[in-house]
Structure formats: C-alpha cells, structure tokens
C-alpha cells in the first residue's frame, strides 16, 4: 500500500529524513513511532506529495507520488499535524467542501459526522469547536470519502482518554470490516500498543526498526532492580560468585542485572552473606515505552 525507497529530505544542513525504506501492507495498522522531531511529519508530507523528497521514491497504492499525481488521492484520506478547518463554516459545511472535492456522495457528510460523534455539532462553526472536536472534524474529513488508505499524523492529538479509545476502536473496525489500511504516526508507544499490527521506529530521520508488534513485545527485557550498599563491590561479587555479566551500574545508585532476572533468591543470599545491605530487589519487565525510549537513544 505504501513503499518508500531511500526516501531522504534535507533542509539545508538539516537532514530531516535520511534513506527511509518503509513497507506498509494492505489491511494493517502501521504505527510510525518516533520522538518529536524524528522526521515523522516530514515523512508523512512526502507520502502525500506535500513535500518533495531530496532523493528517493514514494509509491502509494501503486502510484509514484509526484506533483502531477492526483487520481490516487481519491483513495487516500489524511490528517497532517494540527487539525485545521475553515473557522467561519460549520462542521457540516466544512465536510461538504471535502465531499465536493473528493467526489463523495451527499450522504457521506452525515455518515462521517455519525462515525466521529459530531452530529450534535453539525451546525456549530468550526472556530467554536473544542480542540478535541476539531480533531474529530479533521478525522471525519479524512474518512469522508471512504478511502482505502488512511495516513494520520498523531491522530490522538487533542482527544481526551475516552476519545482516544473511541478513535482506536473506530480505526480497528475500519481495518477489520472494510479492509482499510492505516498508517499513523505517534510519539507515544502506549497510544498504539493496543492498536498497531506493525511498528516502524524512526529516530533522527532514520528507520531504526520495522517489526511486527508481537516481535516488539518479545524484544522487551526483563531485569532485576537492586538497591544495595557499595554497589561497585556488589557488582564485582555477582560477577565472580554467580558468573553474571550483564550488570548495569545506575547513576542514582543501585544495579540492574539483565542476565539473572530469574535468580533473585540466589543473588539476595550472595549479597547478604557478603555483609552488604540489601534495600531493594525487584524483578522488572521492561515496558514497551522503556524499550522505545531505549531504542531512540534515551534513558531507559
């Protein structure tokens, strides 16, 4: 549905996107994850032809995206960055503009409002909507013409927790029932953890990993978080006596032991026998968020 080859965008000296190779399959929800400034929005703009790549290629639904490509967009719905609408026009009128420009039927406006829970605000001016409802209006705009592919940049922006769950369900339903493919960006892994089928992690314009969500879960680490007096001596002791190797000295004091997460009692005995004060020994399963932060070069 989407593929990119060596997709690159420079702004002068700044390398916003660097040699990105993406592959999004039909009927999946692909979460494009990265911290703020990682290159997510620039990538999405290139997928939509809003920004021309410095080099590389974008193919969407079998069409090479270039300035002249228009027909393909009858099958693509999108939302880029901040939600935007004509403030003097009502919700219904804003959607009617989109309907006319995408060639959708008259009934599409009502259906899109129903889907996003906007029917009660149909005659309110867009300028008077809350941030959350503006986001809903933008999502309704993206869905209005029943596209085969949805490209959504941070779709949960501005939505309250209930709204996020609602949109999550809606996207899942569109994928399961209508075979829609969703490419969505996010900077919060937890936001897509219950939704995505596959994940691409982008950092400083480069794709670090592209993997199935189950695979991602398997890659998260388990470790023992240990609070102990004399951590350096304790680390040496665990290496010598128990043959543990993957020990990380924490800056705030204490240790993390990655290759002995199932050897808690043994470790406790060894440390206490050596006369060390053991203040904490907690088995930890790294969550996805920590994994994501670790992958993108942050502190886990």
């Amino acid at each position: 549905m989407i593929s990119t080859a060596g997709l690159t965008k420079h702004y002068g000296e700044v390398q916003a996107v660097d040699g990105l190779d993406l592959h999004v399959r039909r009927g999946e929800i692909y979460a494009f994850l990265g911290r703020n400034g990682a290159g997510k929005t620039t990538t999405i703009r290139m997928l939509l032809g809003l920004v021309r790549p410095t080099s590389g290629r974008v193919t969407v639904l079998g069409t090479d995206i270039a300035p002249g490509a228009t027909a393909v967009f009858s099958r693509v719905g999108y939302l880029v960055e901040a939600a935007a609408a004509y403030p003097d026009l009502t919700v219904r009128e804003n959607l009617d503009l989109q309907r006319r420009l995408t060639g959708a039927g008259r009934e599409a406006v009502g259906e899109a409002m129903d889907l996003l829970g906007l029917s009660g605000s149909a005659d309110r001016r867009a300028g008077q909507l809350s941030l959350g409802n503006k986001q809903r209006l933008s999502l309704a705009r993206a869905l209005l013409h029943r596209p085969d592919l949805l490209i959504l940049d941070e779709p949960a922006n501005g939505l309250d927790p209930a709204g996020i769950i609602e949109v999550r369900r809606l996207l899942r339903r569109l994928v399961d029932e209508s075979g829609v493919t969703v490419f969505m960006s996010s900077h919060i892994l937890a936001e897509v953890a219950h939704l995505a089928d596959r994940i691409g992690i982008v950092h400083e314009g480069r794709l670090l990993q592209e993997l199935d969500f189950d695979e991602l879960r398997a890659r998260t680490r388990a470790y023992l978080d240990i609070g102990v007096s004399e951590p350096d001596r304790a680390a040496g002791l665990l290496r010598e006596q128990l043959g543990l190797d993957l020990i990380e000295r924490r800056p705030e004091g204490g240790l993390r032991v990655f290759d002995g997460s199932d050897r808690g009692p043994e470790i406790a005995r060894a440390l206490i026998s050596a006369g060390l004060d053991l203040t904490r020994l907690v088995p930890v399963q790294e969550d996805l968020e920590s994994y994501f932060i670790r992958m993108t070069g942050g502190e886990s």
């Binding site: 703009r45 032809g49 999108y78 960055e81 403030p87 009128e93 503009l97 420009l101 001016r125």
Partner: protein
Amino acid sequence: MLGQVIATEFLKLRRAKITWLTALGIAIGPLFGGLFMWILQEPGRAERLGLIGQKAQFLGQAADWPTYFALLAQMTGIVSVVLFSLVTAYVFGREYSDGTAKNMLALPVTRAWFPVAKLLVVLVWCGLLTVVIITVGFLVGAALKLPGFSVTLAAASVGEILLVALLGYLLMPVVAWIAALGRGYLAPLGFALLTLLLGMGLGATGWGKWFPWSIVPLFAGIAGPRTETLASGSLVVLALTCAAGVAATIWLFTYADNNQ
C-alpha cells in the same frame, strides 16, 4: 472538477465578515467624493472647514457630475491597489493562517485549479466592489443634485471606472503569489502598501508608464497628470505582470513544499 473547486472557493466566503467590511470600506470612497462636492457647492463652507475645504477646492473646480465622475475614477485607482489587495491577501492568505492549505494539496484535484478558482473569486469580489463604488456614487451624486448629468457622460464614466478596476485587478496575481510565498496576510498587505507608494512616486516621473504599479494610478489621474489613453507598452507591461503572477502562483501551489 474545476467547477467544483470554484464552487468551494465561493462557499468558503460564506459568513466571512470581511466581505461586508470591504463593501463598507469601498463605499467610503464615493461618500468622501460626495463630501468634496458638497463643500464645493458652497465655497463658504470650504473656508470654514479649513484644510478639507482647501483640498476639495484643489481637487475639483466645480461641483458637477463630470468632476464627481473623475473623482470616482481616482478613488477606484487607489482602492484597486489597497482594497483589492486586501481581498486577494484574504482569499489566498487565509489558507495559511487557518492552516487549511495542506488540506487542499493531496486531493483528487489538479492543484492548479485552486489558484485559478481563487483568482476568479477575487475577480468577482473586486467586480462587486466596483459596482458598489458606482452605485453609491450615483446615489450620492443624485442626492447632492449635481448638475451636468447626461447618459453619455455616465456611460463613459462607468466604462472608465470599470476599466481602472480591471487594470487594478491585473496586478492581483502578483499579490496572490506574495500571499502564497509569505504564507499569510502580512506579506501581501505590506507589498500592496509598498507598491502603492512606489507607484505614486514613480508615476510622477517619466518611468511611470513602464512600472506596473504606476500605470493604474496614472490612468486614474492620481499620480501626476492623467494619462487619457493607455500606451500599448503599458498594456503589455500590465498583461505580462498579470501572466507572470498567475504562472508563479500556480507554480507555488503545484511544486512548492508545504511545511505548514
């Protein structure tokens, strides 16, 4: 599809306060013209009113329809630079100020239709504003019971006002380009003021007939002695300016990066 794009561009103006504000703004021109006529009708009033009276006496020799029509043409010359630019800045700049430009660029619609449709909207809007000048002008002139009216004079004067407005409109594609390039209202409005000043200044020199923003004021009689007929060179300059503006705006919509 161009028809749908044009329809949506008109729909975007629904409830926009600026449509009424520009209509009110433009009505001030003929009303001021009427004020000058009213003062000129009684020179004693002009003296009592000080500077306004002196300016009014300077502008027109007599309080009659020929003088008033000439004033209306002059007003149109200024208005076509200032208010038409405001209209163009709004129609193009709002897409960037409201953040909606990005919503237009990945649709099953040729991107060039958007600037074309917008320029058409600007043409119709500016045409209606010119109709307001003419209509208010006739009402004010009739209310003041100005002498010297004839159908021939009225037809010629209306034709002249429409021509001044049309020539002013030819400069708008460049304003549209500036709005798209500057991504908002400020740049085109600043550009309009700058060109108004430059146009008036250069109009007083021999270069006026070659500088696009002097040609309209010269023809309208507000930058030096009035040019009764347009030199063919001036027409070519205006046509080229218009064509370059249209081409540059279409190019921007089609090829420029949108990082909004």
